[in-house]
């Protein structure tokens, strides 16, 4: 395991989803000793697309792999009384527990924050749920699309006349995990200073809502309700097709409108009908025609460095394989190679940020199911080999 800013910190990860797993992984990435506890049948994340070689084998989920880098793994059945007693033993010796069950589930089993903090008052327990631990929707079920809808973001995404659009992938889950990690780090800072733990309650829907600065404030400042963009008009600020893909250009930054017109080799952009923001919005379609005509035969890779030279705010739509080969990311040591017992050697996206004194260390693969049972229960808690077999027989581990 890597040595890092959280060296010596002990964490139990009870989550089976993306958000909880990602939160615990971030702690593991930066040096915490994280133990993933899965039900004997494996965490739900082991069934998630995509799979290595498209083979839906429990050790080959690539999603599970990246969400659980740098962790150890053991199995534990919380539905069994013996399993809960094992959890209580483990909880005595850890700083943090990460969990993502429905609010109240662990309390009903007698292993909620209340019960565990009695055993270990310094414990920081972080719960990540769709709507938080309390409030009228706390027992409602979340899904990525539901977090997005109720977090306001869909109301401004997509175009008018069509349905609101969600972000691709599982952004809300990643965001929930990152927020949980941030809140946990702060609770741990306080724990270090005061010796007191606490329960941290993260709502993924509120996480999404937290990005809606202009959307939320428009109403109490002026009575307006923000909306999705119109289907036509200037494509500035949105992807525009070029010869080999899409680019995106935003006015502002260090480039003047003159610079931008020169970049697009289109002197007609300097005509009065495009002279300011309002004019350009008014004549958006004409503007698009000029720009699209110019870039139709130009490559995004030719345009990107040229735009940087002109100090323009410019982006190009990159595909996953382009990102996998990106020289900028290589220069930042973003990807790491791991050796997985079933998958073999493979490159993984790893480093969120750099720390000068305690950098991201070695990268270890996600644990296989029950990989560290022996180490945790026999070496750690002092059970005999015979006990271990018996626990396995009883479906406790």
């Amino acid at each position: 395991m890597s040595v890092g800013v959280f060296e010596g910190l002990k964490v139990l990860d009870l989550s089976e989803d993306i958000a909880g797993s990602f939160c615990a992984r971030l702690l593991a990435d930066y040096g915490a000793d994280v133990l993933k506890l899965e039900p004997p049948g494996g965490a739900a994340s082991r069934k998630m697309d995509p799979f290595f070689g498209d083979d839906p084998h429990p050790e080959k989920s690539l999603f599970n792999l990246v969400m659980n880098l740098n962790k150890k793994g053991a199995t534990l059945n919380l539905e069994a009384a013996t399993g809960r007693s094992l959890l209580k033993q483990l909880a005595q010796h850890v700083d943090v527990i990460i969990e993502a069950y429905r609010p109240g589930h662990l309390s009903q089993l007698g292993v909620g924050y209340q019960e565990l903090s009695e055993i270990n008052p310094e414990l920081v327990m972080t719960s990540i749920t769709p709507f938080g631990q309390d409030g009228p929707y706390s027992q409602y079920l979340g899904e990525e699309i539901v977090n997005y809808a109720m977090g306001m973001i869909m109301s401004i995404s997509g175009v008018q006349g069509q349905e609101p659009l969600k972000h691709g992938g599982f952004q809300a889950q990643y965001e929930g995990g990152l927020n949980a990690a941030a809140a946990t780090a702060m609770a741990l800072f306080m724990q270090f200073n005061t010796g007191e733990g606490q329960h941290v309650d993260v709502s993924t829907t509120e996480v999404v809502a937290s990005t809606m600065l202009a959307t939320q404030t428009l109403y109490p400042f002026s009575g307006g309700t923000p909306v999705r963009r119109r289907p036509s008009g200037s494509m500035f600020g949105h992807p525009m097709p070029c010869a080999d893909g899409w680019i995106i250009v935003q006015t502002g930054g260090g480039a003047s409108w003159d610079d931008i017109s020169e970049f697009f080799e289109s002197p007609e952009m300097l005509e009065p009908r495009f002279s300011d923001q309002v004019q350009r919005a008014e004549h958006g379609e004409e503007l698009d025609e000029i720009v699209l005509n110019n870039i139709r035969n130009r490559s995004k890779w030719e345009l990107f460095p040229k735009a940087a030279q002109a100090r323009m705010l410019f982006g190009l739509v990159q595909t996953p394989s382009e990102l996998a080969e990106c020289a900028q990311l290589e220069s930042r040591d973003f990807y790491r190679e791991i050796e997985h017992p079933v998958i073999g050697k493979i490159k993984v996206p790893a480093v969120l940020f750099n720390l000068s004194l305690t950098p991201y260390g070695q990268c270890a693969p996600a644990p296989t199911l029950g990989q560290h049972n022996q180490e945790i229960y026999v070496d750690g808690l002092g059970y005999s080999q015979q006990d271990l077999n018996r626990l396995r027989q009883l479906n406790v581990i």
Binding site: V5, M154, Q198, T225, L313, G315, Q318
Partner: protein
């Protein structure tokens, strides 16, 4: 100690959204956060297109202190103006560093070195300093490290536009300034971790963040699919890889929408009951997930026939009571009246002193609650340079004569020397142009503010 960051002083020399928002969240946690701006370089959330709305659409006499985005982000901070291009400004900045725990900045690396306020220089002044630098592509010698960057264009470059968009349509954006917020929270995480390490070991360190990197990490599963299986991902709109039906459907009323997501056959049978078409559960076109994915378009029509006649909130309650994940598309207005948001206290009301002429306004709080530390917005945003005197005279001991000179030479100021307010658009005009969905002239009565 009741708040995690009681006694921590943060020098926040950052602009736009990402780290300034971190600063606001640090203030909620009890830190003393000092926002530093140049007299001729007011934050872009005060000026132009990023500023958001003005109270009642009025610029007022001090427009630079009134925009909504500025006020949300900079809540609970202190404000200091310092002209960093003047040697006295840099000297005072360094003196402040020597009495601070954390410094955050998002200047270009070249500028920081030129001013002698890069990490190696500041570490000499404050050996256990935690410093956070946020740039578009991160420091170092990579090909894009010197490229200008901003969230709107990065959303394409870090891969999100490729995976976002209507089914089989072109790449698209979602939300606003997405990657900025990933940096906001990454910085919060890094600061918590580095401060704990400092208290443990006595050693500070430098946090070097690139927004690009954060954005890319959030598409990890797509990149793994490319690395392992040579697949480039696909835009599937509101649908799901392994659940069906999932989507965003028209609800009763103009531009009202409901989302739902069916993950298994039991949820499907429950949905059929709600649709009043129990026979659909046995219909071969929709009998299992594979069939429902194949005939998703047809299914969407059937669902819309039901949802378009029912209120979006009622739809949510009906489906959630049957354990079907579902939720209405909430607008920027809706959240102010939603019982769950209300019960959680997610929007916090900030009351301004009468001389600010801002009244009371609700703002986004934060998405996490601590059981023992009552995190909250500690107060309104400061006015430009509001704490110049306190910070320079009381904290750093600048004498009256020197202070007067700083004012005379515009090294410090309480009115920005450049910048203009974003132009006023009357709400009725905005409505007509399709810039907003609706306008309530009685919003203050509705909110009770």
């Amino acid at each position: 100690m009741t708040l995690p960051l009681d006694g921590i002083r943060v020098l926040d020399s950052t602009y736009v959204f990402a780290l300034p928002y971190t600063g606001g969240l640090l203030a909620d946690m009890g830190a003393e956060v000092i926002k530093v701006e140049g007299p001729g370089r007011p934050d872009v959330t005060r000026t132009g297109g990023y500023a958001g709305a003005f109270p009642e659409g009025e610029h007022g006499k001090d427009w630079w202190n009134r925009p909504s985005t500025y006020n949300l982000i900079h809540r609970g901070k202190r404000s200091l103006t310092l002209d960093m291009t003047d040697e006295r400004g840099r000297e005072l900045f360094k003196q402040l560093v020597s009495v601070s725990d954390v410094v955050m900045e998002n200047f270009t690396p070249r500028v920081m070195r030129g001013w002698g306020i890069d990490y190696p220089s500041l570490r000499n002044i404050k050996p256990d300093l935690v410093m956070v630098s946020n740039t578009g592509y991160g420091h170092g010698d990579g090909p894009y490290s010197g490229y200008p960057a901003q969230a709107t264009t990065q959303e394409a470059t870090h891969g999100h536009c490729w995976i976002t968009g209507y089914q089989d349509g072109p790449p698209a954006k979602a939300g606003a300034s997405f990657v900025d917020f990933l940096s906001t929270w990454t910085a919060l995480f890094a600061i918590g971790a580095a401060l704990r390490y400092r208290n443990k070991t006595g050693q500070g360190q430098w946090v070097d963040m690139g927004m690009y990197q954060a954005g890319v990490l959030f598409t990890s599963e797509y990149i793994m699919d490319a690395i392992a299986n040579g697949r480039e991902g696909a835009r599937i709109g509101n649908r799901h890889q392994t659940r069906a039906p999932q989507g965003c459907y028209r609800a009763l009323g103009e531009d009202q929408w409901i989302t739902l997501s069916v993950g298994d056959d039991e949820q499907w049978r429950s949905l059929c009951r709600l649709l009043g078409q129990q026979d659909l559960a046995q219909d071969q076109r929709f009998v299992d997930i594979l069939a429902r994915q194949r005939n998703h378009d047809e299914l969407d029509e059937i669902i819309t026939n039901w949802t378009s006649t029912v209120d979006k909130y009622e739809l949510m309650h009906l489906m959630q009571r049957q354990s079907i994940p579902s939720g209405p598309v909430l607008t920027g207005k809706d959240v102010h009246f939603d019982p769950h948001y209300k019960s959680r206290g997610f929007l916090e009301r900030v009351t301004y002193p009468p001389e600010r002429d801002m009244g009371t306004r609700p703002f986004i709080g934060r998405p996490y609650k601590f059981s023992k530390s009552p995190l909250k917005v500690q107060g309104p945003s400061p006015t430009f340079g509001q704490h110049n005197e306190t910070l320079l005279q009381d904290l750093l001991g600048v004498d009256d004569g020197a202070y007067r000179e700083l004012v005379q030479d515009a090294v410090i100021a309480t009115v920005p020397t450049t910048g203009e307010p974003s132009p006023k658009i009357h709400p009725e005009q905005a409505l007509e142009r399709g810039l907003i969905a609706a306008w309530d002239s009685d919003y203050k009565e509705q909110l009770g503010i």
